[in-house]
Symmetry: C2
Subunit: 245 residues, 2 copies
DNA sequence: TCGGACTATTGATCAATATCAATATTCTGC
DNA sequence: GCAGAATATTGATATTGATCAATAGTCCGA
């Protein structure tokens, strides 16, 4: 068997514990199919409509997945973080349904659908991890559907801010994601200006602090009240209320 | 090994071809863990916030998955059709993040997370089918995010109508789904009245026909133009345009 | 076949948020 | 440190779709 140059680090397809139970040959076989790639901020891994051949596992950094209307309106479907998969939507599809663009420096492993299929068939432990990852992503997506479908602008922004907390950093520390106002707007189905106004209002009410390139949550409890329902969908019961209009 | 009473029919966990390659014992083992259940229209399989123990595979009928805000605002996250899984979002979660309610008479198989885990680990063919199903559901969810985030009311309704076509029936026949105006509104993040107005307008413009309990598409092409982008996300390239406001 | 309840349609008005526009701030390359 | 560009803030106004309300159609049981 060929030697392996692929590093073993945290990512759904690469994580150490996945190798438990696999033979040395199997491990090498898996590593052989993974192609490790680097991307710079603003660089696209692939674009909406491109023929879909590879699936990507994000090993380091953050991505935004976006879809556009022909007139330029753009929607962020998801922010992907290390450990997540992208492009698996096309497991049976022909073209990528979204553009994947690096927000930070990014390390990703790519693997062809065919290879993935073979590996899954041979390695139940890996397929279990893939299923766990996918189900979490589906949960996230449904959470965004909730936000987009039935929340007001302040509720959306508060939901967005709270959803960033688990992405890293202590609850009262700086949030670990640097999106522009425009990008936040594109995620929440709002305009830049509305996001700016809502955030200004939150600052005025001392719910958050916001300087150049950072946001800090000052009053998590009141943000949660504004949000209306819990951010972590699989969690504690609902809280306080505010009507849509 | 115990005898099997579970019927073998179309559903992700039950489908015939899954059994190809499995030993008789394995097949029996799988069937043993599946619990077949029947539901009537309006009956709930489970409710948002219930402790999540089972995963469901929908074998026959249609379901709506909804999430509510404490003040009663409700969002339909997804319409599930035969072959789809539900509750897998909670593979690692503790409570169901949505309510699953039958729209028609429903047959579903349920299986505990633990059993599913064991079966997946033992049967790569099944995990492959689960992954395919999940990735399709993720694709659907992202498509709804697009609709909710960047479309106008007429665009949303046209997208909704077009998305029903592949669910069955020929392109110019009656649509196979009977949702009330209220339910369509809850799916698209609109109100009953707005849906009604848009549909009335579509009828006036001879794009659709709509009688008691049925909708028929008369002019697919113009509906697609209104929709702006394609319904089938993994499909042909974009078409004509209309701006959001 | 009637009566009540639910669902859909239609109209008038309102309000949240988009749009348009101007200014301020921050970032970048030189 | 400066000039230009990009990003963010703030204000004035417009517009989509919500809300409130009344009417009409449909379904269902008695």
């Amino acid at each position: 068997m060929a030697t392996c140059s692929c590093e073993v680090k945290a990512c759904v397809l690469c994580e150490d514990r996945l190798y438990a139970g696999l033979s040395k040959d199997q491990i090498c076989q898996l590593r052989e199919h993974l192609i490790r790639e680097l991307y710079e901020p603003r660089e696209a891994l692939f674009r909406e409509g491109d023929p879909a051949t590879y699936l990507f596992a994000l090993r380091h950094g953050q991505l935004k997945l976006t879809s556009s209307m022909p007139d330029g309106r753009q929607q962020i479907l998801r922010i992907a973080v290390a450990g997540q998969l992208l492009g698996i939507e096309t497991f049976k599809g022909r073209t990528y349904p979204f553009t994947a663009e690096a927000l930070t420096d990014v390390v990703a492993c790519k693997i062809s659908h065919d290879d993935l299929r073979n590996i899954i068939e041979a390695n139940p432990a890996i397929s279990l991890r893939v299923i766990e990852t996918l189900s979490h992503e589906l949960d996230q997506a449904e959470s965004l559907i909730r936000d987009l479908g039935l929340k007001t602008a302040p509720e959306k922004v508060s939901s967005f801010l709270l959803s960033l907390v688990p992405l890293g950093g202590d609850p009262n520390g700086d949030l670990p994601l640097r999106l522009s106002r425009r990008e936040i707007a594109e995620m929440l189905g709002l305009t830049e200006e509305t996001v700016s106004r809502v955030m200004a209002d939150f600052v005025r009410r001392k719910l958050i602090e916001s300087g150049r390139g950072f946001i800090r949550i000052l009053d998590r409890k009141r943000l949660e009240e504004i949000n209306g329902i819990d951010v972590n969908t699989t969690g504690s019961p609902p809280r306080a209320v505010s009507a849509k209009r």
